[in-house]
């Protein structure tokens, strides 16, 4: 059954001194995908006096560039959207190709590769946050039995990470190397995703990083199950799984990505699609607060009514 969400993602920087000039890149506009449809989206930026340019990045994600040329002590970026997520087509893991074959198909033979193959080839290599090392191959050894279908392996790897890596908010940062995550076996969703990608790519298998949102309160038959994810945005992994193409897994929660997941952008790793990236001049110390609210629209509640009201008041203000 399809789901509809109203999402509000607020990022607020408070600076101890004037920021005299700054440039920012925003990956906040959800990209179109076969399983989701964005009905409405808008980004509100304060201070209002700024320059904004809409583009697409090299991976096809919508990208917003922002430049602030006036001194400011605070930057607030509020992204709001209404989006429909459809259930993904069922896949039969046993019918996917053997994982070794998936990798071998990329071996260079001097022949014309298919379009899909060329697309997937972009996601097979080291990138700033992803390393290719024997230690990753070894770690995932038990998930990749000889001749096993790729999706079976990917599912095992997802479960393994979910079981063996401790979800530990605040213990890692964006710059924690993925080798350290493997060593300490602790991290947050970005670390889970980078680790899974490293395990796949170290075996020559294409994997990409998906950034987006997660509905954390899920009502299920046995009462309320809570999915974990950052209070901010979420991240998971897409695995190249012929003949189906890209199939998405959420190693932090040990499941397939489904109607609880809303994708915003994808790339080689976090660095390609970080929601808000910038360089500021001045500012001294800064404080950052990020709040994300993912609200199912069909489950009407007091909270969503309030949210709707605050949306309209801010619309009036503008």
């Amino acid at each position: 059954m399809k789901r509809k969400y109203r999402i509000r993602h607020e990022t607020r920087y408070t600076y101890a001194a004037d920021v005299v000039h700054s440039h920012h890149l925003l990956h906040l506009v959800p990209r179109p995908a076969p399983y989701q449809e964005c009905l409405e989206h808008d980004i509100e930026i304060c201070p209002e006096n700024h320059r904004r340019v809409n583009e697409f990045d090299a991976f096809g994600n919508p990208l917003v560039r922002v430049e602030l040329a006036q001194p400011h002590r605070e930057l607030a970026v509020v992204s709001r959207m209404e989006i429909e997520v459809h259930p993904r087509p069922a896949v039969n893991a046993d019918t996917t190709e053997a994982w070794e074959k998936v990798g071998e198909e990329f071996a260079y033979r001097g022949a014309w590769p298919s379009r899909d193959q060329l697309d997937a080839a972009r996601f097979r290599h080291e990138s700033p946050h992803v390393r290719l090392k024997q230690s990753f191959t070894d770690y995932a050894h038990d998930c990749f039995a000889a001749g096993q279908p790729i999706l079976v392996c990917a599912e095992r790897l997802t479960e393994k990470l979910h079981k063996e890596i401790v979800y530990a908010p605040g213990e890692t940062t964006i710059s924690t190397p993925v080798t350290e995550v493997l060593e300490k076996r602790r991290g947050v969703c970005q670390d889970f995703a980078h680790l899974m990608i490293s395990c796949l790519r170290s075996r020559g298998l294409p994997a990409r990083y998906v950034s987006g949102y997660l509905r954390t309160n899920v009502a299920s038959a046995g009462g309320e199950k809570k999915l974990v994810g950052d209070a901010a945005s979420h991240a998971w992994v897409a695995v190249w799984s012929p003949p189906y193409g890209w199939i998405e897994f959420d190693p932090t929660n040990g499941c397939f990505a489904g109607t609880d997941h809303v994708a915003v952008a994808w790339g080689r790793d976090f660095g390609d699609v970080s929601p808000l990236r910038g360089v500021i001049l001045g500012g001294a110390e800064h404080q950052l607060s990020v709040t994300v609210r993912v609200e199912p629209v069909d489950e009407t509640s007091v909270e969503s009514a309030m949210a709707a009201r605050s949306l309209s008041t801010s619309a009036e203000r503008r």
Binding site: A107, Y108, A121, H125, L132, S233, G282, V290
Partner: protein, 809 residues
């Protein structure tokens, strides 16, 4: 005159001898003109002159692993490397062709990617390379030109042909050294160069300059050289090129992107930059879109490039094709992209990502060299023959595990060129040699420098030549074809609507700020050294000693809890710290300083570093430091352009001096011993004013007379009135040359009312009151001078924002 060849060397090409007992024809004229047999001293003389010129010109190369310190003098052999005209034509055509081809390759990789789609190249080559910059995909540089400067490393194989070793497409270094080498050899062999019709190389730099200045349309063009800074291994070259090309040398934070335009922050405000010659690796160039941890880049640069508002030479992302893995793929790429057969053969190269290549390489390992596909795999080339037993098995396993990350190349036996054996004889030695040839790619065509940089290993049988590992350089002499008139190779002037006389010497704000603080720290060091010296000199006089020590603490020459006697032992306080700051500012503005100024700074630093260990008296150390500091001031007067930068430096000196005098006078006026002749005399000593005082006044020193001298004597460079006027004059000149509003100076020196002199010298409450009043007024002057310093920095340097931070959520 013959080099002795070892058996292994017999398979190498001998550049000098033809193998039948004779000298190759293109060397004969050079050797006959050198007339070595007639004057055996000639070798020694030319070697000495070459070394001297290198030191005098300050030619250095920073070596990362050099225990001797960062800067090593460039090693240049006075014997050039000679190439005949016909041979050169082959090289020239081959290099020009490659430059065109590589430009087309880059345009495809960052554009339609046809080569990938048609299976001409494996995806691993671009996509696995850390310098394939995804944000540059789809970017179209001005005129579709990715490559402006290209260099090819070549070696001569035993068959006598020149082979391509490597392509340099990122930010090829060495062209500046080549120019410098030629300048030095022109002085060593002043007559030989024209007599042999050696082709001139300077036209290359003219072409580069024209190219860089040609993107401004109707505006006055501004092109800059972007350097990672003084700690880079080839910083000398960056500074040298900047001077030769007449382009400002800037660092990332000297530039700022506003909207889609790049600006240089100068003393006179923001100036639009049309072109940037970068010596910074491409992934460091924009912390917003590329490496976020780069403090060296320019946030927003990519946006400006996308908008076509600035030209970057070379474009971003060009480093991807420097990998040796490309070499084997280039012949078919050339057929596909430019429809030409490659003229220069490349060293046989296999990329191990292809299964047949892997198997071939593993069964021929002994005659191959293994190199990395990607620059972030940090290992030196591995010669297969060096690997035996277990190590060989390990190597093979490594290659099998990640074959695509390795490249194998045929082992090239480098040719051998003659070098002087030693300074004492005219005998020659043979050394392995490679050459680097440079090309400027312009929309009108490719211009190859007729010459370049030859590098020799420090042993004959070496197969790797690297400046990082020692070894030396040679100038390349390309002989002109006989019919050729060598005119027209001089600097062509760039064409454009702007006037050639227009001022181009924009001084970056950062440089100005560093010059300002260099001025201030020079005087601060001088003040503190003299203060400490005179204090130590007064040690035997109990009436001075305690007073002087307290003054040292008041003025910060020693730490609040420190002592004069220990001032040299603590490394991070007082004079030590000030000298470090001075050296830092000097390093940051080094390309504005003369070579001897820089040597003076290095010497001063060494004196201070050695000070704690020296047995000699502290007074001697201060004396020597004062001498060195005086020399620096002298050099800045005599060697530097008296331009705005220099003026700001002098303002720094004057403001620092004024503050010191005011501060020490306040300290004296508020001391219990203010009127003691001994303390007054001591203060005159500290202010270097005793001789002048003696010339003006007779009798024991008096406070009022000392004040009269240090406040009002407009002929005395230590007097506040003199300093204030000098500051005013520099502010006037600065306002005039920058055509801006004049900055407010410091207020008048307080006037003493009638009869004040008597009261100042008096004991008791009357004297104390009068002295406190004057101290207050001087305190205000001090505050105002501090405000002036702040205003100067807000106005002239505020554009600097070295505290750029990267944010990410």
């Amino acid at each position: 005159m013959r080099a002795v060849l070892e058996p292994d060397d017999l398979r190498r090409y001998d550049e000098l001898n033809d193998g039948q007992g004779g000298m190759r024809p293109h060397w004969r004229e050079l050797f006959s003109r050198l007339r070595l047999h007639e004057s055996p001293d000639a070798v020694r003389r030319s070697l000495e002159l070459t070394r001297r010129l290198i030191v005098e010109n300050g030619v250095t190369y920073n070596v990362y692993a050099d225990p001797q310190g960062a800067d090593r003098p460039w090693a240049l052999d006075p014997l050039p490397f000679v190439l005949p005209a016909t041979e050169w034509q082959t090289i020239e055509a081959g290099v020009a062709q490659r430059a065109r081809l590589l430009n087309a390759l880059l345009a495809d990789l960052y554009g339609p990617q046809r080569l990938l789609a048609e299976g001409h190249i494996p995806a691993e080559l671009p996509f696995g390379h850390p310098n394939y910059l995804w944000p540059c995909h789809g970017l179209r540089p001005v005129d579709g030109q990715w490559l402006h400067v290209y260099a090819a490393d070549l070696a001569r194989a035993p068959d006598g042909r020149w082979w391509l070793l490597a392509d340099r497409t990122q930010a090829p270094s060495g062209a500046g050294y080549a120019l410098e080498n030629r300048e030095i050899l022109e002085q060593v062999h002043p007559e030989t160069i024209p007599e042999l019709s050696v082709r001139r190389t300077r036209g290359f730099f003219g072409a580069l300059r024209s190219l860089m200045l040609g993107y401004a349309g109707d505006e006055a063009p501004l092109a800059v050289i972007l350097t990672p800074g003084p700690y880079n291994e080839t910083y000398f070259e960056h500074a040298y090129l900047a001077r030769q090309l007449g382009m400002p040398l800037v660092e990332g934070h000297d530039l700022t992107v506003r909207g889609d335009t790049v600006f240089l922050k100068t003393l006179g405000g923001l100036r639009r930059v049309h072109a940037i010659l970068r010596r910074l690796d491409d992934d460091f160039c924009d912390p917003l879109e590329l490496r976020g941890d780069s403090a060296l880049g320019i946030p927003g640069l990519l946006g400006s490039l996308r908008a076509g508002r600035v030209v970057l030479s070379n474009a971003l992302g060009t480093g991807v094709i420097e990998s040796a893995a490309w070499l084997g793929f280039l012949p078919p790429i050339s057929e596909r992209l430019i429809g030409e057969r490659l003229l220069l053969p490349e060293v046989a190269t296999w990329w191990l990502g292809e299964k047949p290549a892997l198997e071939y390489v593993l069964s021929n390992l002994d005659r191959l060299v293994i190199k990395p596909t990607y620059p972030n795999q940090r290992f030196e080339p591995m010669f297969g023959r060096d690997f035996t037993g277990v190590r060989r098995d390990e190597l093979i396993e490594r290659l099998r595990n990640r074959p695509y990350a390795y490249v194998a190349q045929e082992h090239v036996r480098l040719s051998q060129a003659p070098v002087w054996k030693s300074a004492s004889s005219s005998e020659l030695d043979a050394r392995a040699l490679t050459i680097r040839v440079y090309a400027v790619v312009t929309p009108a065509g490719v211009q190859v420098m007729p010459g370049g940089l030859a590098r020799v290993a420090n042993e004959a049988a070496a197969d790797v030549v690297s400046t990082q590992r020692g070894g030396g350089a040679k100038d390349i002499w390309v002989l002109a074809p006989e019919a050729r008139q060598d005119a027209g190779e001089e600097f062509p002037m760039p064409t454009g609507k702007w006037s050639a006389n227009q001022r181009q010497d924009y001084i970056p704000s950062r440089l100005v700020e560093n010059l300002y603080w260099l001025g201030r720290y020079t005087v601060r060091c001088e003040n503190n050294a003299r203060l400490l010296l005179r204090t130590l000199a007064g040690r035997s006089d109990a009436r001075v000693w305690a007073h002087a020590r307290q003054t040292c603490r008041d003025l910060g020459a020693v730490a609040p809890d420190g002592d004069v006697l220990d001032a040299l032992r603590t490394g991070d306080q007082g004079l030590h710290a000030d000298v470090k700051h001075l050296a830092w500012c000097a390093a940051q503005s080094r390309n504005r300083l003369s070579a001897r100024y820089w040597r003076g700074v290095v010497g001063l630093q060494r004196q201070m570093q050695e000070a704690p260990a020296t047995r000699g008296s502290s007074r001697e150390i201060y004396e020597r430091a004062l001498l060195s500091l005086a020399a620096l001031t002298g050099f800045s007067e005599e060697d530097m352009m008296h331009d705005e930068g220099w003026r700001v430096m002098r303002l720094g000196r004057r403001i620092e001096r004024l503050q010191f005098i005011a501060r020490i006078l306040v300290s004296q006026l508020t001391s219990r011993h203010a009127t003691r002749p001994e303390t007054v005399e001591w203060l005159l000593d500290v202010c270097d004013s005793t001789p002048i005082y003696r010339a003006r006044y007779i009798g024991a020193p008096r406070l009022s007379q000392m004040l009269n001298l240090l406040l009002y004597d407009d002929g005395h460079p230590m007097a506040l009135v003199f300093l204030r006027r000098s500051i005013d004059r520099d502010l006037d000149d600065l306002a005039r040359s920058l055509q801006g509003e004049r900055e407010r100076g410091v207020p008048d020196v307080p006037m003493l009312p009638q009869g004040a002199a008597e009261r100042l010298d008096a004991a008791g409450p009357v004297g104390e009151g009068e002295r406190a009043g004057l101290a207050r007024e001087l305190g205000e002057l001090l505050d105002k001078s501090g405000e002036l310093s702040d205003r100067l920095s807000r106005r002239y340097f505020a554009l600097i924002d070295s505290d750029a931070q990267a944010l990410a959520t």
